[in-house]
């Protein structure tokens, strides 16, 4: 018995020793507060941030707020008590999280805003795609598609928004309509799909195609909504190309629809670059060093850091995905994360 116990103890010590020598020393734990895990962008952001932060020496833990503001507030308070190296926050509600950001920073914990920009209070770094800009890119492509059909920018667009309470979709709408204002011959019908629910988008499309059969283009604010839209069009006897379609966020399902000929354009939200930017600057953020304004190359995308009233802000341009470039592995929808390891900014 004594021999058995000694052997077990020996094995235990050996395993501890092996583990200690194998693991590289971590620079600390970073908490990522993800707003929800109900869509592919958010789940993709967890794996991308985990991968890139690991490459620069940090451990990452994720807490899902399930789209509940009060839950995210409690999570912030709990995480502050754990004194992590930093907190990455993709806020459910921009205003409600302001006091929590201030508490974290007061406790000496750097806060990084990811994907959702909070301008009402300073934070240590912000990495965003520029949702208004996504709307601008979508508008440029809508103009191209309508010109291709009529020779001029005119016609009818159905815009299917996401949840009307989500600033992500409201910003895209703002950017899109801002740019389309210059074309008064274009009618835009905007309707929201409550809670980003796909079948709601499908119903909107089938109703509108009956009431307004002259709709030329449908612009949906997420790729998963366009899947339901295509299902409705298919049920109505339409074929790929009969109605022009665009969507935004660049999820894998959107890229599949481009390959099948249903979707003309998908405006990508540059998930990999957004996550890579956070990892690139994490040493400076944790070390509380100054971040310089200027242009940076983030996984091949020219991105601009500006010093705003709410802190250093990196904005990464989204890209338009069409049939011509759909197989480019740089798009996160193709789910091939960059092979070259992310390096910290000196």
């Amino acid at each position: 018995m004594k021999r058995l116990l000694a052997a077990l103890l020996g094995l235990l010590m050996l395993s501890f020793a092996t583990q200690a020598s194998a693991a590289a020393p971590s620079k600390g734990t970073v908490y990522y507060l993800v707003p929800t895990l109900l869509d592919e962008f958010q789940t993709g952001s967890v794996s991308a941030l985990g991968l890139f932060l690991g490459q620069v020496g940090y451990d990452m833990k994720t807490l899902n707020a399930d789209n509940k503001t009060e839950l995210q507030q409690s999570q912030m308070n709990d995480v502050i008590a754990l004194k992590p190296a930093a907190i990455i926050l993709a806020a459910v509600d921009f205003n409600a999280l302001k006091p929590s950001i201030e508490s974290a920073r007061a406790a000496g914990i750097p806060v990084v805003e990811f994907d959702r920009q909070i301008t009402s209070t300073p934070s240590d770094f912000t990495s965003v795609a520029g949702t208004v800009e996504i709307g601008h890119i979508a508008a440029e492509h809508a103009q191209k598609l309508l010109t291709g059909k009529y020779g001029t920018v005119k016609g009818k667009i159905l815009q299917v928004l996401g949840d009307p309470g989500d600033p992500y979709t409201l910003d895209i709408q703002k950017g899109f309509e801002e740019k389309m204002k210059a074309f008064p011959s274009v009618t835009i019908i905007s309707l929201p799909a409550l809670q980003w629910e796909a079948s709601a988008a499908g119903t909107i499309v089938s109703d509108q195609m009956l009431a307004n059969p002259d709709i030329d283009l449908i612009f949906l604010h997420a790729a998963h909504l366009s899947v339901a839209a295509v299902a409705s069009l298919e049920a109505a006897g339409k074929k790929p190309g009969d109605v022009m379609l665009m969507s935004s966020n660049g999820a894998p399902v959107g890229l599949d629809l481009i390959r099948k000929g249903w979707l003309n354009t998908e405006v990508e939200q540059p998930l990999y670059a957004q996550a890579a930017a956070v990892a690139m600057f994490m040493d400076k953020i944790v070390g509380k060093q100054a971040i310089k304004a200027g242009e940076y190359d983030v996984v091949g995308l020219k991105s601009v850091v500006t010093i705003e009233a709410w802190g250093p802000n990196i904005k990464i341009p989204g890209s338009a995905i069409t049939k011509e470039n759909v197989d480019n592995p740089a798009f996160w929808g193709n789910q091939k994360p960059p092979t070259a390891a992310i390096k910290s900014v000196e």
Binding site: D39, T43, A198, D207, A231
Partner: protein, 331 residues
């Protein structure tokens, strides 16, 4: 009051929701250009298929005086299971059976079996262990949605097998087969409720559970069957959801529970149990669906839909109370 007047009044009270539906359709047809057309009415019937089937299951439990809050999540899980197995893109495994038509009964059975199993778990805890139906099914609502999230990882399944998808595309008398499934379910379950001892027993249990037990009716077994049926029907509504959207996303069907509740209450099923009929529920479903369509066509903010649904439920409850009082006076 003459017996004839009384009968007329009773008929009006019992079918008030149908009169409301006709009134609403007439008003919308006058107010909204393009509303009065066959295509829109077909859309209303089609859009109500998922909600309609789910409401049947919910009504079966509510009429017994109990509650099933899990139906929405059950539908989502069934849809996700069908999506994962029979979709070829996204997280779909793209399983194909030969002959292809075999996928229809297999996917249907799978969806219904998933629902029935969860319904059985709910039923055992509520009926056998005498736990609160509200709490048990609320817990199921949460953990089942959690499973949907866990198995999908937040990703979606897309491109459902054409053999199954056929139900959303094929039409009979201009109405998609998905809508016919809902209509058939309402017919079958309405007959079951009105003409079979089981249906009558469910209503009796809702009216007075103790008296029904003393009358020698197997209350426990009937309640258990009601929960299993509600689960299986919720599974069927999930199957319809996957068919209509050609796949499944993790948030598919979010918010359906509240609409199903609204439809059941508007349709005249008393939340206390023992009162109501399934044709009334179908009218409630069509009423909600026609209002949703009107909101879509008018371009009103979607939040408005919830406001209207909220007021409709409130109106239905007030009307129900008013009807009960008037019935007492008539009696």
């Amino acid at each position: 009051m003459t017996p004839r007047t009384r009968r007329v009044l009773e008929f009006v009270f019992d079918n008030l929701v149908w009169f409301m539906l006709i009134l609403v359709l007439a008003v919308f047809s006058m107010l909204i250009p393009n509303y009065f057309q066959i295509g829109i009415f077909t859309n209303i019937i089609e859009a109500s298929s998922v909600l309609g089937v789910m409401s049947i299951g919910l009504a079966l439990v509510i009429i017994t005086g109990h509650m099933d809050l899990s139906v929405e999540s059950v539908a989502a899980l069934a849809a996700m299971a069908v999506g994962i197995l029979f979709c070829s893109a996204g997280i779909g495994l793209g399983i194909r059976l030969s002959p292809e038509w075999l996928m229809i009964p297999v996917s249907l059975l799978l969806a219904c079996a998933i629902g029935a199993l969860i319904g059985l778990a709910n039923g055992v805890l509520v009926v056998k262990l005498k736990m609160s139906a509200f709490i048990i099914t609320l817990a199921s609502f949460i953990w089942v949605r959690g499973i949907v999230l866990a198995v999908s990882g937040g990703r979606s399944a897309q491109d459902l097998a054409p053999a199954i998808r056929w139900f959303a595309i094929e039409r009979f008398l201009g109405i998609p087969l998905t809508a016919w499934i809902a209509i058939a379910c309402f017919l079958i379950f309405s007959i079951m409720m009105a003409k079979t001892p089981f249906g009558r027993h469910l209503v009796m249990i809702g009216g007075n559970e103790t008296a029904t037990f003393r009358a020698g009716i197997r209350v426990t077994r009937n309640l258990l069957v009601a929960f299993v049926m509600a689960g299986a029907i919720a599974g069927l509504s999930g199957w319809l959801l996957a068919v209509r959207t050609s796949g499944a996303t993790a948030n598919l069907g979010v918010g359906l529970l509240f609409n199903a509740f609204a439809a059941v209450v508007i349709g005249g099923i008393s939340l206390k149990g023992g009162v109501g009929s399934l044709p009334g529920v179908y009218a409630g479903v069509l009423l909600l669906s026609s209002i949703n369509t009107a909101i879509n066509l008018m371009g009103l903010p979607a939040n408005f839909t919830q406001v209207i649904h909220g007021f409709l439920v409130l109106a239905a409850v007030l009307l129900d109370t008013f009807k009960q009082r008037l019935r007492q006076r008539l009696a």
